[in-house]
Symmetry: C2
Subunit: 291 residues, 2 copies
């Protein structure tokens, strides 16, 4: 089974568990709406790729870890789209959760998905509690305060922003979680995989900046020009389009160099190299699928 | 050390962990604001009482479980107070988080506290992963969908409400978590402790209805008459004040009868009996501390 199928199956299983018995219907429907059909599933795909490169020692745990990570990411999108943050009308080409349902449902959808992310891993971990606890530790560390995506979003309420901490937490955190959790799910140490995740996160940030500056709303499935509108730092503003693309290639080169020795090292390097090879100022934005 | 001290120390330790390094300050401050000085800490006190009645086999894990449960409860209060839900101006006698800080900070405070609740248990669980995973399973089940407090709040967005599912999820869930987690932290099975938690939850709901109907805002530290204002079901409306008090005594009697055989059975029964003995229509509201 390919990664995408394994990821989507694991997410569908988690959502089905959340609909057991007779739950409140609108909230149950909104949970499914928020995670399907899904974007590129980039983070869980990276997690799966690292788990495979490390020998895919425990596929069930890797599937659960991938679902947990993607569900957490979806939770963050639902809350980031709320009127008090980005007030986004569309996401992945359809109305955002608060527009489609309501603000109360959107807040509860995010909350329920955060809990569900942990729950997926907790349930899958019964046969291997010690590894499951390590995976849960990475997920919580990269989601909450002070190092996770909550912290990243929190920086946007500060008058003085620590830019490196902001980017690392806001975008980098879940990529670090992806590489670390992939390795741990296959019985490896987390730490040697930190740099790969951080570099992919950096690359993703630059690619996102390029998309935000160059794509139209139809291609992207969400509003563009948001960084400029919210006066957020952006690699294109800083380095220009060609400069940003060149920076992206450098970062991906560093990512490849950081891959720890493992049985699937070559395939993993290829996975990181492929998008980099396709990149140039004209095609760059279109080769990176939207979220 | 008494329960209150153990609970408050464990919560303070969790908050300090969330402030490591250089986190975004407003969010870090808001997390502390949302959990201190705290209300009656009823749920973690019940958890500690059950753990003690079962021999307090692993005090560190019990402390972490109690902190996790209270932090989760505080997260739910912060989100419930948001303008799109209760739009509450005060909580525990001070401005709610969104009034004191901002809506974005309030959403992120709730999110960060949910994550922190899991994280506290994950970190404490290293020495006993299997028990920690059980505790985490109870916490997630009683927080998310379809059986937890998120589901409870979700019922308020439904046209047709399943009242028993609503009360069980909205109020009962964290009390069931309290008794089950207390037992599990001391190496006992969770299931036999479910009814005690459910009964205490029911009693708490009736007591809350009495407070809402009879107390003034200063005594309660939050707005009163909210059930009437939001047309929510309420035991006082249904049975009158004397009827509600009589019902409360019945429920607590059932709670005492449900306590499983354990070394501290008598002390536990005493803990449940005490508030029931003090109850009468006049003093009832003042003997139950506000949250």
């Amino acid at each position: 089974m390919d990664f995408r199928q394994r990821i989507d199956d694991a997410i569908a299983k988690a959502i089905a568990h959340g609909q057991l018995g007779t739950p409140p219907k609108r909230l149950a429907t909104a949970l499914e709406y928020a995670v399907t059909p899904g974007g590129a599933r980039i983070r869980p795909t990276i997690l799966m790729s690292v788990a495979a490169a490390c020998g895919d020692r425990d596929p069930k745990l890797a599937n659960a870890a991938a679902a947990a990570l993607e569900i957490m990411h979806c939770a963050s999108l639902v809350h980031d789209d709320l009127p008090c943050f980005d007030d986004a009308p569309i996401r992945r080409g359809k109305p955002t959760v608060h527009r489609k349902f309501s603000q109360p449902i959107a807040v509860l959808t995010g909350d329920s998905l955060i809990v569900m992310a942990f729950e997926v891993l907790i349930r899958a971990g019964v046969s291997n509690p010690s590894t499951a606890l390590q995976l849960l530790g990475i997920l919580s560390c990269r989601t909450g305060m002070p190092y996770g995506i909550c912290a990243g979003q929190g920086w946007e309420s500060e008058a003085q922003v620590d830019l490196s901490a902001y980017h690392m937490a806001k975008t980098g955190a879940l990529f670090v979680a992806a590489t670390q959790m992939g390795a741990v799910a296959s019985g490896q140490e987390a730490e040697p995989w930190t740099e790969l995740g951080a570099r992919i996160g950096e690359a993703f940030q630059v690619a996102d900046d390029l998309r935000d500056a160059l794509c139209d709303e139809d291609t992207l499935g969400k509003p563009t020009g948001q960084d400029e509108a919210h006066a957020r730092p952006n690699a294109v503003t800083q380095f220009g389009v060609e400069g940003a693309v060149s920076r992206l290639k450098d970062i991906l080169g560093g990512a490849i160099a950081s891959i720890p020795a493992c049985e699937g090292e070559a395939e993993l390097a290829e996975m990181v190299r492929k998008p980099a090879e396709r990149l140039n100022p004209v095609t760059a934005p279109r080769t990176i699928p939207g979220e």
